[in-house]
């Protein structure tokens, strides 16, 4: 089987982290984001993966070589010379996607969920349509485009963009499976899969939904990345609880790399992810936060709802909160308070940041 991952551009929404690494390589739960998708695809029997990008992917290409061998999968870059939207890249990668008659997956790269690819194949084959869209239920459908099914059926009747009256609470989760015939509907020109391709297939009665079990999150920006981390850990607790950290200093779910060092009298959790080589001092309090590889958290620091970039240092008695994001190699002095600071790489912070702001 085959899959196309819509990687797109520079990932500006996830800056300052994406100033250092392309977004697919930024770790989510101690693993590059795109690997969550690649692993799940390979597990479902996918052998060819196309990454649709619209920038030159030198850094990514080197990483992907490694993963090709590790996961025994062919990874190809499809480079757009002009942005082709969400639909155009399918046409551009037609050679690979149409190389056999098996259906293929299309994924938005920012989405994190339990990736039920095998069930998607089964459902897709069972209804015999051209496409199946994974849908997730949301509390406030008025902010999204919602999907309305034909009554009592998985078949899609219509799409309603930002409904003002309740018609459905199912929204497109950004993960699809298509029969190769869909490729006949798309040209390699800027195209929106959601606004142009889907309504056409739906009109032909050949587009269906599959309800996504479990959690779903678009982790393309820091606040959602943090929420997604919590959802991921909760899911991990249900499926692979042995991977979560345990001990008297753990309070709630935490994923801690085995190479991390943790001092005395700390309290860690809930929803904490600690990367490789992290050093945590004594009396440190962590909750709802992500520490990327090589960060150093000194004694008595307090961190909540923040992302600490690679190899950054947080001083003693520092307090970080309010969706603070430290880029790569940022140094926060002792006793500093940061509320919602977005700090670009290689900066030192030695005065308080009391209100959300960007430190260039």
């Amino acid at each position: 089987m085959k899959a196309l991952i819509l990687v797109g551009g520079f990932g500006t929404r996830l800056r300052p982290l994406t100033l250092t690494l392309p977004k697919p390589l930024v770790e989510f739960a101690n693993k590059p984001m795109i690997l969550h998708q690649i692993e799940a695809l390979v597990k479902a029997g996918v052998t060819d993966i196309v990454l649709a990008v619209n920038y030159r992917p030198e850094i990514m290409a080197a990483f992907m070589k490694k993963y090709e061998q590790e996961y025994k999968v062919n990874i190809t870059f499809s480079i757009e010379t002009e942005p082709l939207g969400t639909g155009g890249p399918l046409a551009l990668a037609k050679d690979i996607l149409a190389k056999d008659n098996d259906p293929f997956f299309v994924l938005n790269s920012d989405v994190i969920c339990e990736f039920p690819f095998r069930e998607m194949v089964d459902i897709h084959k069972s209804h015999g349509g051209e496409g199946t869209i994974l849908v997730t239920k949301v509390e406030d459908p008025s902010k999204y485009g919602v999907v309305v099914n034909k009554e009592g059926s998985s078949q899609i009747e219509r799409f309603v963009e930002k409904p003002t009256v309740y018609v459905s609470n199912k929204v497109n989760a950004g993960i699809y499976i298509f029969s190769t015939s869909v490729l006949d509907r798309i040209q390699p020109v800027p195209t929106s899969i959601e606004k142009e391709v889907f309504p056409a297939i739906a009109a032909a009665g050949k587009l269906h939904t599959m309800d996504l079990p479990g959690f779903w999150m678009d982790v393309g920006q820091p606040k959602d990345y943090l929420i997604g981390s919590g959802l991921y850990l909760t899911s991990l607790y249900q499926n692979e609880p042995e991977r979560l950290a345990t001990g008297p200093h753990i309070s709630g779910f935490a994923l801690i790399d085995s190479s991390a060092k943790i001092g005395k009298n700390c309290k860690i959790g809930p929803h904490v992810i600690v990367g490789p080589g992290v050093v945590i001092g004594d009396g440190v309090r962590l909750s709802k936060c992500v520490l990327l590889e090589g960060t150093v958290i000194r004694d008595h620091a307090w961190i909540q709802n923040s992302i600490i970039g690679w190899h950054s240092t947080v001083g003693k008695w520092a307090r970080l909160e309010g969706a603070t994001v430290l880029g790569d190699d940022v140094h926060v002095a002792d006793e500093i308070y940061i509320n919602g600071g977005c700090v670009l790489p290689h900066k030192s912070v030695s005065t308080n940041i009391a209100e959300p702001s960007i430190i260039m």
Binding site: R285, H300, W302, K316, W317, E335
Partner: protein, 449 residues
């Protein structure tokens, strides 16, 4: 008894009364402002200590309109520390104004003394009294006032002094002038000959005459006559008469600041502690003893007047103290706590593991749980601070008035009144909290009633 030597002197400390000092709330709600502890000692202890050191000091008189009992314990304690100088409290039964109180008690002040100092209570200073005595002897006038140069932008908030550059004779003295007059301000510290009472009597008579022409009932008239303000009614009138001279604080050696708002005790505490570091290191202290079990109760009651522990070398079994710091001997500090600089820790305070305190006053019986951080703040009596909680005020000078945020005045230091409980893991920043509050969520730039 007429052996030549230093002039016979008395000291007067003007403490005002309970109705003044509203800007010192909420700290004045549980402690008379003149007794609020700064650098481990009541505010006016520093005045008493400076006066008691002056050769020839016969007596120190504390004048105000607080109840007598307010100062009983303080007077007993300072009397024990300075047994050679009698110290008494004289109560005005009504507010008589800064000069009114002095004039009212003139007989007791001049009895046995040729000159007397007058010190306002609400100041922190190095009190260069010896220098004032020399200046006073040199010019032979009636009064010497201590002046200090301040930034031009704040000068007109104070009594401004224009002095003749050579002789330092005061040519002009205006309280809070509307436009810039001078960057030299009066510190509220004076040295007078007893002839000053002539000037005061003139002021009283003038006021009486004015009241008589305006009418009014006799009793009120009598009371009103004595309400005279030292700066405005007496000293301003002495300018340009070769009776009033200025002694200028020595930059870099002397310090002076007003203690008006609650926030100003933080810089006052810092100034005293740093001063002690140079002139009286025995008034500072390291961690009192190897901190044992934090649950252990302290039984050794030590009165605030007893001498503090001498400075010991840094000991890994005691808390890390960065000087200057004052730590009461009954405070219990965990060895992993870190304090200072510019910290005063009161009696029976309990600081848990990994607690950080800097630029702060922690009052009696406060309990701070593990890993909490207290910066630029006053933590009132019996407060309880939760684990990993941050109590923080904005650093900054005190003479500076409160800053404003979106049109509202915001406190520059965080001040917790008596018996405030702060939950674990929250942040209280730039807040003033009134007594007996229970705070469960983070707060910023607020006054919590």
């Amino acid at each position: 008894m007429t052996k030549p030597g230093p002039a016979t002197l008395k000291g007067v400390i003007l403490v005002g009364g309970p109705s003044v000092g509203t800007r010192f709330r909420p700290l004045s709600m549980d402690c008379p402002k003149p007794l609020f502890p700064i650098a481990g000692r009541p505010m006016i202890y520093h005045h008493v200590a400076a006066l008691a050191k002056v050769p020839g000091m016969k007596e120190i008189l504390v004048i105000g309109f607080f109840e007598n009992s307010v100062f009983d314990r303080f007077l007993t304690e300072v009397q024990m520390e300075f047994p050679e100088v009698p110290i008494r409290y004289l109560r005005e039964y009504q507010a008589l104004g800064t000069a009114g109180g002095i004039f009212h008690f003139r007989d007791q002040i001049v009895r046995g003394a040729e000159q007397f100092f007058v010190l306002n209570a609400d100041i922190a200073s190095s009190f260069p009294l010896q220098g004032m005595i020399q200046t006073h002897a040199k010019h032979g006038g009636v009064a010497t006032l201590l002046v200090q140069r301040v930034d031009k932008s704040v000068a007109s908030k104070f009594g401004c002094v224009v002095a003749e550059p050579e002789t330092h004779e005061v040519l002009h003295f205006v309280q809070k002038p509307e436009t810039f007059l001078s960057d030299m301000i009066s510190c509220g510290i004076y040295l007078f000959n007893k002839d000053i009472f002539d000037a005061m009597r003139t002021a009283v008579q003038k006021r009486q005459a004015r009241l008589e022409t305006q009418g009014g009932d006799g009793d009120d008239l009598h009371k009103g006559a004595e309400v005279i303000v030292l700066e405005k009614d007496v000293l301003a009138k002495l300018a340009s008469t070769k009776k009033l001279y200025a002694h200028v604080c020595t930059p870099g050696r002397d310090f002076w600041m007003q203690i008006k708002t609650g926030s100003s005790v933080i810089p006052a505490n810092r100034l005293y502690l740093q001063h002690f570091l140079h002139v009286a290191p025995r008034k500072l202290s390291n961690a009192p003893r190897p901190a044992g079990d934090l649950g252990a109760t302290t039984t050794t009651a030590v009165s605030p007047g007893s001498p503090p522990a001498p400075i010991k070398p840094i000991d890994p079994t005691t808390a890390h103290v960065i000087q200057p710091a004052y730590i009461h001997p009954t405070a219990v500090l965990h060895p992993t706590a870190k304090l200072g600089p510019n910290v005063s820790i009161g009696p029976r305070v309990l600081l848990g593991p990994g607690v950080r305190v800097r630029d702060a006053i922690i009052l009696d019986s406060v309990e701070v749980k593990n890993d909490a951080c207290i910066l630029n703040s006053v933590v009132g009596w019996d407060c309880k601070i939760g684990a990993w909680t941050r109590i923080e005020g904005a650093p900054g000078e005190s003479t500076a008035l409160n800053a404003t945020l979106k049109g509202y005045k915001i406190p520059s230091a965080t001040i917790l009144g008596k018996d405030v409980t702060v939950a674990d893991e929250i942040a209280i920043r730039n807040c003033i909290v009134l007594p007996h509050k229970d705070i469960k969520t983070s707060q910023h730039n607020e006054i919590l009633m």
